[in-house]
Symmetry: C2
Subunit: 184 residues, 2 copies
DNA sequence: GTCTATATTAAGATAGAC
DNA sequence: GTCTATCTTAATATAGAC
């Protein structure tokens, strides 16, 4: 089986256990592969596994989030699509964001640059949409940050309360919140 | 040295490395205590260390956040005080929130109930203030959630971007954002 | 209350057969 | 491409001296 086969399983594992908590034994059990086989697919060990997952996530991010923001239609529609994709990618709030998880523990030293880059790309893409709608650069960028803050915060809160409602509500309200007070 | 001596150091360690990443070796080095001495103070090991830290945090939470929300003065002033204490407790955004960290990895199974309880208490206290100011219960509770979302999300984003500005901005804007559209 | 020493278990990683 | 077996290092935990 090729590498990509195990990416969804690895993503799930790192989201659930974090980088330090996802041990090779757990990975071996979840994938059904022996430890030696894991090193055949990922010679660099856990670090390479996460890199593969991050590459996969970046591709999904570009094909879903970024594409939605740059799609046809008016501003509100594009923000709406972005929120829909965000909702799906986190399975309605069931799944935490791997980016946030990789900012903690020993993973941060390794993956922080890539996570930082993804966050910037996301925020900039949202700001771009809002500037097209007539918002000035500073405010558009702030609202891009506000979107990231709302999504990340809502994921944490829904996870902490064991209640998907806050995440659902935030995603539902977010397009209008980003679009508020824009005339044309 | 009594137990409490080591709480600040332990808090710092768990915030930086997470529960799974904070090994006894690191704890031993940071506290200056041998592993055996650590078990003298905390017979339950890492789990008991976190419990001690959480007890300490709960006390600080009640004396700072809750007390600010229930203090004298008008609504906006009380929200302002709550934000000031929140800002200080996270050292201006330098320090992540231990509650969020304890929701990940193997810590979640152990500490989720306590974290959930603290989050609920915080949200309810904010909602209480807003209801006193005339907001209806549903909306007040939503804004309590929004406050938690904004703080948690901003901490993640500032951590992810390596830039304290988003956290500072969110804290600055939060009182007015929670208080918006309230007449009396 | 702290230490050295040590036990036990698990984690990360590799060699080499099939 | 997967396995068994094994190695090394590190993590959690304890015994017992001072």
């Amino acid at each position: 089986m090729p590498q990509e086969t195990y990416i969804p399983c690895l993503l799930q594992l790192f989201r659930q256990h974090g980088y330090d908590g996802a041990t090779l034994s757990k990975i071996s059990e979840a994938t059904g592969l022996g430890k030696a086989s894991l090193y055949h697919h990922f010679p660099g060990g856990k670090e390479e596994m996460v890199r593969a997952v991050l590459d996969h996530l970046r591709a999904g991010f570009e094909q879903n989030i970024l594409q939605a923001l740059r799609s046809e239609g008016d501003t509100l529609t594009r923000l709406q699509r972005m929120c829909d994709r965000t909702f799906e990618l986190h399975e309605g709030g069931e799944q935490p964001c791997l980016f946030a998880i990789l900012l903690m523990g020993s993973a941060r030293e390794i993956f922080h640059p890539q996570v930082q880059n993804l966050l910037r790309t996301w925020i900039d893409a949202i700001a771009e949409v809002l500037m097209t709608a007539g918002l000035d650069e500073t405010l558009a960028h702030q609202r891009g940050e506000d979107a990231a803050i709302a999504v990340q915060g809502a994921l944490i809160l829904s996870h902490g309360l064991n209640d998907l409602a806050p995440f659902r509500r935030v995603i539902k309200q977010l397009p209008q919140q980003l679009y508020r007070d824009i005339s044309r």
